[in-house]
Symmetry: C3
Subunit: 246 residues, 3 copies
Amino acid sequence: MIVLFTDFGLEGPYLGQVRAVLHRQAPGVPVVDLFADAPAFDAMASAYLLAAYAAAFPAGAVFLCVVDPGVGSARAPIAVPAAGRWYVGPDNGLLAIAARRAAETQAWQITWRPERLSASFHGRDLFAPVAARLARGETPAGEACPLAALAGHDWPDDLARVVYIDRFGNVMTGLRAGTLDAETALVAGGRRLARARTFSDVAPGDAFWYENANGLAEIAVNQGQAAALLGLAVGDPIDIEGDVRR
Amino acid sequence: MIVLFTDFGLEGPYLGQVRAVLHRQAPGVPVVDLFADAPAFDAMASAYLLAAYAAAFPAGAVFLCVVDPGVGSARAPIAVPAAGRWYVGPDNGLLAIAARRAAETQAWQITWRPERLSASFHGRDLFAPVAARLARGETPAGEACPLAALAGHDWPDDLARVVYIDRFGNVMTGLRAGTLDAETALVAGGRRLARARTFSDVAPGDAFWYENANGLAEIAVNQGQAAALLGLAVGDPIDIEGDVRR
Amino acid sequence: MIVLFTDFGLEGPYLGQVRAVLHRQAPGVPVVDLFADAPAFDAMASAYLLAAYAAAFPAGAVFLCVVDPGVGSARAPIAVPAAGRWYVGPDNGLLAIAARRAAETQAWQITWRPERLSASFHGRDLFAPVAARLARGETPAGEACPLAALAGHDWPDDLARVVYIDRFGNVMTGLRAGTLDAETALVAGGRRLARARTFSDVAPGDAFWYENANGLAEIAVNQGQAAALLGLAVGDPIDIEGDVRR
């Protein structure tokens, strides 16, 4: 299975062109869009989102990851093996958290290049062919390099920021709920938010946080739009009540 | 074929996670998104939309239906066999109209549960595995129950409300056009709307209603946005001129 | 491979219904969405977009093209063989530029009709079955006609207008960058725009034009929204500095 994690958006020709390359170069391999609307140009927020959502996929999955504001510049393309999966994308930190959580220590700088490489669409021209080769069991030409030498190696294990807002206005943070205890409150948008199990456990209109279905601490309002109510946007800081780290 | 009917939206990870489960648990079965933007949290409007749009699918299709404001509460998961198809979803009325139109009298309360069931994402954790099993020809553990005992059993055969507005501003009602005669006018947004065959049969800018390509009475404006022009939103009532029921 | 080029939008049931027909009538053939948000009702802008984006697909691809404001009127359905690919759609100019660039001279007026043809959804009822037949290697009943007799035969080779705006605010024109030399400036929204290689070659906030990954002249702003900054919408004229044609 090839899993797409991009900020291309669903609109326009971008995803379709990537899919067309994958269908031709890895025929018969299912392709699934995980996120097409990862935080645009924000490799850091995206890195925590990717790590949380990739964890449930089986070994053998190849993640094609493109949040790449530096396309056309000198940043290298990399591939990281992690817990039996492959992650392919730019060396800008996007893959760093997923790799670290898998306790990997090594990545590959991809030296393979396609015959024709546009300046602006490496997702189609470079990363998709690399992902297709990995899905076929081939390893594109590259050079081993330690994770510690890559962008993102100094980022925190959890990110106390908003990393995604879904269409219901639910606010995902870069914090794993498992690192917070049951009594921990989050503070966001000037409001103290207690933990609940799920939506139906609080009254309509109440704001709370809970462990979402992928293990992230998520701020929500039962039958309401948390992002609008609390005035939150991607990148905004979240306070952990009583957390000495902040 | 597995057909998705949800209010998840196209954005975010939700559809992709469901598709990933289906690819793994029912490999090779095509998966089609029918609606990803069914009326959010509105099982009643969704029920009439589903019944109208599912009718054209062949026997053997499995409909995975998730419009489920009560996720995490006590409402049961059900599966309904109807006209050779299966419908899987929550017992909140969503499947009631499709089942009734197929003259079915019996449903299954699903007692099967996955090893790991999140509190907030039964679409991925419970309904998708059930749909995959049905698509493979297996029947998950459950108990027969009469349709008459399920939510929605007392809903009307047709719904005189707006059930969907498409991106062109066309306004779908929950009324089957076949239940209305050629001279019947609809009244919505303070305007009397006569019936036409299709867009090109009225002048640009004219509002009318017609039988859409799936049999629903739909309000439209040739080269215009009916919803904006008439001030209509999902859930708004539609009057049938001269209808004694209203 | 069947490639979808439509203005249906991603929302709603339209794409899914077309995909369901294709899965049933051409089982196993991959289906890729190239554009689901082609310029709505605008066959001319769409024709230049289609020609630019279809060029990279391999021989054998079948393009199912529906931008069809005249659905239900007398305009004919056509199929055009071009450079080993098939294009299927309405005779309203949509296919004209792709056909001309392939140096084709002949098209087919499709006379085949399905048993059931709705007045408003020929994409599902007529064009999709025709595309499925072509993908299976069959040729639906039709009559040869010269391209010169079809809509769009008198349209220019390149279109000095905005043909698409992507979700990042990048502004695609209907001009092939290869027809413009390196010193050519474009004028749009009252601003003179010089050519650059790509985003990372200009300062953040700077507007420029460049050859996009599919050969079109595209107006962009590094880390900004060109369409908003320059006040541009689909259909707006673009001036080519010093161009005697204008």
